[in-house]
């Protein structure tokens, strides 16, 4: 039975989406002033997927993400300060500055892997789900990947394995229509990623990924089934990347009309409208956005002042046991 989210819960998810939007805004700002080493990938416009899926996961559940991970990690409960500090390459970062934007890991929060290799995370998530199954832990693994991942062989190998071993794995495809700079039509004749699930005997569903209510409900159902040991599920969320592939991408491959249409699909605007329709006063919604803004500004200022890692520690963590690290 569908469970109606309470208005209070919906407002909390709205606030989370605002926080992710503003987080990405700070990353963009700091990147444009040269304070972000590397090339961050923003999830602006895709907030409903991260928030809608993660709201259905428990603290023990595990997520794996990709190069576009900021939103997922925050939605799973990581401290935005530690996430931003990592993106800025600081010692206070989630991975002490060793990973950066594309490799956000927060093991304590079940954020077990973000990988900069498209589709590289899918098989790792299957392995984590496998361990959970073998250990009878009752937790599940969810993996976020883009539609670009379907071009990689490992995506298909893993679908087969996950089905074969009935792994407690939720595959979330954020179909934003682009594999890096190439539109879906240009890189595949298969319009919907969910089409790939059936041949491997995996159930799937394609939903509007820019509608928080729809994503939340679809994820709730899928996760319930995965947790109920019914095997893997593929949830395809049709969404929109409002930003470029990376910060600084001029997006010359996208038309003006497309960019204009995007504003209508903004998941935060849409959820705001829904909440207003249900009687939430505009000033409350504005207050949530303003609160998130103030919080993010404070976080950004703190992260900018955070210490950089000590170069003398550069060789730490190559090996986890002393034995092998003891070069002679």
């Amino acid at each position: 039975m569908p469970q109606e989210l309470s208005l209070e819960e919906l407002c909390r998810l709205y606030e989370q989406m605002c926080l992710i939007r503003l987080f990405e805004g700070q990353v963009q700002r700091l990147a444009s002033t040269g304070e972000v080493p590397g090339f961050p990938h923003l999830s602006t416009g895709q907030e409903a997927v991260a928030v809608g899926v993660c709201a259905n996961l428990s603290d023990d559940d595990m997520i794996f993400s990709s190069h576009r991970a900021h939103g997922h990690v925050i939605a799973k409960g990581s401290d935005p300060y530690a996430v931003l500090a990592e993106i800025l390459g600081r010692q206070d970062g989630l991975c002490q500055g060793r990973g950066g934007s594309m490799h956000l890991v927060d093991a304590a929060k079940g954020v077990l892997g973000a990988t900069g290799v498209v589709a590289g995370n899918v098989s790792l998530a299957a392995g984590a789900a496998w361990a959970a199954q073998l250990r009878g832990e009752g937790r599940i693994a969810a993996v976020f990947s883009g539609d670009g991942a379907t071009g990689a062989g490992v995506f298909h190998e893993t679908l087969n394995l996950a089905s074969l071993w009935r792994l407690p794995l939720l595959l979330v495809c954020e179909n934003n229509g682009y594999a890096e700079f190439t539109s879906r039509e240009e890189h595949s004749n298969v319009a919907k990623v969910s089409t790939f699930a059936a041949p491997y005997a995996i159930p799937s569903r394609t939903v509007d990924g820019n509608d928080l209510l729809v994503v939340h409900e679809a994820a709730r159902e899928a996760i319930g089934r995965v947790r109920n040991q019914e095997g893997p599920w593929l949830l395809e969320c049709m969404t929109f990347r409002m930003a470029g592939h990376y910060v600084g991408d001029a997006q010359r491959y996208r038309s003006k009309e497309e960019m204009e249409a995007m504003k209508e699909k903004d998941p935060i605007v849409r959820l705001g409208r829904h909440l207003a329709g249900r009687g939430v006063p505009a000033q409350k919604l504005d207050g949530l956005m303003a609160g998130a803004k103030g919080r993010m500004e404070a976080i950004a200022e703190r992260a900018r002042k955070a210490a950089r890692p000590d170069p003398a520690t550069v060789l730490d963590y190559v090996y986890s046991a002393k034995l092998a690290a003891e070069e002679n």
Binding site: M62, F64, G93, L94, C95, Q96, G97, R98, G99, H103, V105, D106, A107, A108, L112, G113, T115, V117, G120, V122, S123, L124, A125, A126, G127, A128, A129, W130, A131, A132, L134, R135, A141, G153, V154, E157, T158, N160, L161, L164, W165, D316, Y317, V318, Y319, S320, A321, L323, A324, E326, E327, N328
Partner: protein, 326 residues
């Protein structure tokens, strides 16, 4: 008790499965095509069916699943078949497993083992004769185990499965399966990362690993018997970590060195050993270092062509005499 290399592998798998319920075997082709060696695994397959996984041919997916499971507390060993096939899993082994501990600032580790049958094995041709240890040695975060003796195969594989906290590549070799050595029941685990002096000598050092150890020992016998030369044989056992100290000590003692390696010559394991000696033992060297490795060429199919490339005991003995100026 005397065991063969193949028995050592089978014993390590069996004992590891018995002593730790987290150990998982992904695939069951660990013994390659050798029927007698495959029989050795039958008891394992019979006793632990719930932890042995029959798999599709999906090296990338399987390696990735092993990595994810290892990060969550399991201790999987993946059978990657012939040595060359680690290339099919390379993206996951080299770009995920090896990096994860570092990239996460030490939050997670990956105690997974990737097992493969390395080496030139006879008519394997270019795609089934891979010796990837040097390539793997270029990937910080991996441990590369290349035993040349039955007891070391047993000890290193068991250690990788039960104790290691890092991803390991275990390089087995089908031509080593019948090599025998003594093991002592209940003996302590060997010190991983330490080379082993397989034979003491004073006139020159022969540095070897994997299949080259047996050939180096045969060459040392010939040198002693026919030329009165006392050769010391150093078995590296692990390529990463590389025991530079033992290498340097041996050459400091003998002053002359032949490095025998089954990798292609350029940028190989022998090259790394030679560089170490150039940096740390130059003043001890009475003659230039000699590398005996496989020429930089894909391995041909036809036996006479393949034989032309193999670093044999005869080539090692002849090389040693050249280094000695004889």
């Amino acid at each position: 008790m005397k065991i063969t290399f193949a028995q050592g592998v089978a014993m390590a798998l069996s004992e590891a499965l018995a002593s730790d319920p987290n150990v998982l075997m992904i695939g069951s082709g660990f013994m390659g095509l050798s029927p007698s060696a495959r029989d050795l695994l039958n008891p394992v397959l019979r006793d632990y069916p719930e932890r042995i996984f029959v798999t599709p041919i999906s090296e990338l997916g399987l390696a990735g699943a092993a990595i994810g499971a290892a990060a969550c507390g399991q201790r999987p060993v993946v059978d990657l078949g012939t040595g060359s096939f680690i290339l099919e899993a390379f993206a996951q082994v080299a770009n995920e497993a090896a990096n994860i501990h570092y990239m996460t600032g030490g939050q997670t580790s990956v105690p997974a083992t990737f097992y493969s049958l390395a080496g030139i094995r006879g008519a394997g041709a270019a795609q089934h004769s891979g010796r990837m240890q040097a390539m793997l040695g270029q990937v910080p975060g991996l441990q590369v185990l290349a035993p040349g003796a039955a007891d070391d195969a047993y000890g290193l594989l068991k250690w990788a499965l039960l104790e290691s906290q890092n991803p390991s590549v275990f390089l087995s070799h089908s031509l080593l399966f019948d090599e025998t050595s003594e093991i002592v029941a209940g003996a302590a685990m060997l010190p991983v990362g330490k080379a082993r002096i397989r034979r003491e000598g004073t006139d020159l050092s022969i540095i070897a690993s994997s299949i080259m150890v047996a050939r180096a020992l045969a060459a040392a016998d010939t040198l002693e018997r026919e030329h009165g030369v006392s050769a010391e044989v150093v078995d590296l056992r692990t390529i990463v970590p590389l025991d530079r100290e033992t290498i340097v000590k041996s050459v400091a003692k003998t002053g002359r060195v032949v490095i025998a390696d089954e990798c292609p010559l350029s940028f190989g394991v022998a090259a790394e050993v030679a560089a170490t000696l150039a940096e740390r033992a130059l003043s001890h060297l009475k003659a230039p270092v000699l590398r005996l490795a496989v020429p930089d060429v894909p391995i041909p199919y036809s036996p006479p062509l393949e034989a032309e490339l193999i670093v044999t005991a005869e080539k090692i003995a002849a090389g040693a005499l050249r280094v000695l100026g004889r």
